[in-house]
């Protein structure tokens, strides 16, 4: 069997039904094998878009997202997408074409050292040197990407290898000596954590993105209901907690809720689950280390004790550990404590300008009308913070965003990928006018796919988050390079791609357009004219 065919068969065998990619000279044999297969090919407009779409697909399907791109610029273009997936622990298998083996190292046309260049941003990389290694490498790549702490794996495949016959098959069990991720948390350590929780008076759980990728959401919510222990979440863990949960204190971090911060301050024991507690999550004070016991549960041993000192470390799968906690915690005990001081949160303004939209009001409206299992992707910037703060994550809703790397242009392609993984669910892409201009071509991908995504373009004609940072650092008179003087007519652009689109300047028109967009089968871009004065978080 030809190498290319072996690669495609291996992708099919791993249960994914589609690949996201952009072709080129160094993947011609692969595309020929792809044409003859049952896999769907999603042609994204940039290689970065392919990685983001695969990321959305992976996060919603629970299977690794697969990308195929060509050598040289195709490969270098996808690095940002790979780094985005790495920062958020999203499983991807990225296949890059490479020039033929005899030309490697000669600066051939479209040659780039992609295994070298992508190495800091991948969980693992392979450069295939022998066609007979293909079956084993493909098998290992899917295994490494999806087990332990998920992440992207890159396989660089010279074009001549794609055309070489593969005689070996890989029927043996995977055995990688240096890769044996721990799944079950150490029972002794968990028992230690349970007794510390039982002795504590004001325990608090901090839920991260690990809850979602390990499938710990249901047992965690049961545990929280049963024990009454209050919970805060990180940006990545935003949809890990049922919105209706009474003991949910909101999001921590630089743009988090005051209530969550206060709960952190007053707690005497903190159970961090599936979160690495980045600088963004700790922003706003040393509240993490102030005289409290910290239990840190994470599948990646390198994250435990990296950013904050931990008294009870537990390395293991969040789902496994939470199930054990749920089973063994004292069923008689209940901790329904509330922070003594409850700072007032940002209220939804009742009065807004007549000719401009308030993002809080708008997103509350979306929140009310969206399905209980709707998926929201958010881009990066003000729109991300607004989406995280104002969209209620009730029911089985999911929130996808680039939390770690903060990659603008993530929202649209990831929404397309997510929709393809779960076609029955409503998908919204919350974008800013900056981020959408980094991914405009993907409107074409969306139009071609025939899938329905509602794009909420929160257009304030600013790179608003950077503007806010400049204002805070240097003063309002020092704004520079953050204004779009001649923002394009996004409705015309969307229409040019064959999508439905309309301008919304006030809540009345917005609600009408939203209702229309939710009713039909077509994708929509709603260009929402946002009051450009509004920043990320308003404190009153």
């Amino acid at each position: 069997m030809e190498g290319a065919k072996a690669i495609i068969e291996s992708i099919e065998k791993h249960g994914t039904d589609r690949v996201f990619g952009h072709p080129g000279g160094a993947v011609l044999p692969l595309y020929e094998a792809l044409r003859a297969s049952n896999l769907v090919h999603v042609l994204t407009r940039t290689e970065q878009g392919a990685a983001h779409a695969a990321s959305g697909y992976a996060r919603m399907s629970g299977k690794p997202g697969v990308c195929i791109v060509t050598s040289g610029p195709g490969a270098t273009n996808i690095i940002t997408g790979i780094a985005t997936a790495q920062a958020d622990s999203v499983p991807l298998v990225v296949i890059t074409g490479q020039v033929q083996r005899s030309r490697i190292g000669t600066d051939a046309f479209q040659e780039a050292d992609i295994t070298g260049a992508s190495e800091p941003f991948t969980k693992h990389t392979y450069l295939v040197q022998d066609a007979n290694e293909l079956p084993r490498i493909m098998k290992e790549a899917f295994h490494i990407a999806s087990t332990g702490r998920p992440g992207p794996v890159l396989i660089d495949i010279p074009v001549d290898i794609q055309k070489t016959d593969v005689t070996d098959s890989c029927e043996t069990q995977i055995n990688i000596r240096g890769y044996k991720p721990v799944f079950h948390g150490n029972r002794k350590q968990i028992k230690k954590a349970i007794s510390a929780i039982e002795k504590s008076e004001r325990p608090l759980v901090c839920a991260g993105g690990g809850i979602l990728c390990s499938g710990a959401r249901t047992p965690l919510n049961l545990f929280l209901q049963k024990t009454g222990i209050p919970v805060v979440c990180t940006l990545m863990g935003n949809s890990a907690i049922d919105g209706g949960l009474a003991n949910s204190m909101g999001m921590i971090g630089s743009h988090g809720h005051l209530r969550a911060k206060q709960a952190l301050k007053e707690s005497d024991l903190l159970v961090i689950i599936g979160a690495r507690i980045s600088d963004r999550a700790t922003a706003g004070g040393q509240i993490f280390e102030s005289r409290k016991t910290i239990v840190h549960i994470d599948i990646d041993p390198a994250e435990v004790g990296k950013n904050i000192e931990t008294q009870i470390p537990i390395v293991g799968d969040a789902g496994d550990v939470v199930m054990y906690l749920l089973k063994h915690i004292d069923p008689e005990k209940s901790w329904n404590w509330k922070p003594c001081r409850t700072p007032s949160e940002e209220p939804v303004p009742s009065k807004t300008r007549a000719d401009k939209l308030d993002p809080a009001v708008l997103l509350h409206c979306v929140s009310e009308k969206a399905d209980p299992d709707a998926i929201f992707t958010a881009d990066v910037g003000l729109n991300q913070i607004w989406a995280a703060r104002h969209i209620e994550m009730s029911g089985k809703r999911r929130f996808l965003t680039s939390g770690g790397l903060g990659t603008m242009g993530y929202g649209l392609p990831s929404a397309i990928g997510a929709k393809m993984a779960v076609p029955g669910r409503q998908v919204f892409a919350v974008m800013g006018d900056g981020g959408i201009q980094m991914s405009l071509g993907e409107l074409g991908t969306l139009a071609e796919s025939g899938e329905k995504v509602v794009i909420l373009l929160l257009n304030n004609q600013y790179l608003g988050m950077v503007r806010e940072l400049q204002d805070n650092a240097y003063g309002k008179e020092c704004r520079h390079g953050v204004r779009f003087e001649k923002g394009p007519d996004f409705v015309k652009i969307a229409e040019a791609y064959g999508l439905k689109s309309a301008h919304a300047c006030d809540m009345e028109s917005f609600e009408k357009i939203l209702d229309l967009s939710l009713a039909g089968h077509d994708s929509w871009l709603i260009n929402c004219k946002i009051d450009s004065k509004i920043n990320s978080v308003r404190r009153f």
Binding site: T115, E119, L127, Q129, R177, G178, Y179
Partner: protein
């Protein structure tokens, strides 16, 4: 901050060295020395890595190393429980009148003569970093011409195999 030695067993594949070296540079860890060689099974290599780090940093470095797929095992070689050696090859100026003296010193350091010309000698010795430094210091007074030093390689004392 102390000088420490890590012994790292890795898969012997292309790209592994750059992955490990890259890990140190991108995480801002200090790397003092590095030596790599295959072990009895040619599928694996042992890296002996000299670092300058405190306890916390050493733990982080070891965790990050362990996270790499091609890394099989990482141990710290503690000075009291380990045998750590370097190899030195040194060329010194040795006119006839000082040749005898240099040879005597070399004998003291268990250094052997690899090559002699009319005016120069090439000597070789192995030992701890301290011994090597001290031998170089002695040779300096005779006119040190050229030095080639390996970095440290080492292993734990006792019968335990890793």
């Amino acid at each position: 901050m102390n000088k420490r030695i890590l012994s790292v067993l890795v898969e012997n594949h292309a790209g592994v060295l750059s992955r490990i070296a890259g890990l140190f540079s991108r995480r801002g860890y200090n790397i003092d020395s590095l030596s790599v060689g295959t072990v009895d099974d040619p599928e694996y290599s042992r890296m002996t890595i000299g670092i300058t780090a405190d306890d916390w940093q050493t733990e982080q470095i070891m965790k990050q190393l362990n996270k790499q797929v091609p890394v099989i095992k990482v141990v710290e070689l503690l000075p009291d429980d380990s045998l750590i050696r370097e190899i030195l090859i040194i060329r010194v100026s040795s006119p006839v009148e000082s040749r005898r003296e240099i040879k005597d010193l070399a004998d003291l350091y268990k250094a052997s003569v690899l090559d002699v010309t009319k005016n120069t000698m090439v000597l070789e010795t192995t030992g701890s970093e301290k011994k090597i430094e001290s031998f170089i210091d002695h040779m300096r007074s005779y006119g040190l011409l050229e030095i080639a030093r390996s970095s440290s390689v080492g292993m734990q004392r006792g019968s335990k195999v890793f």
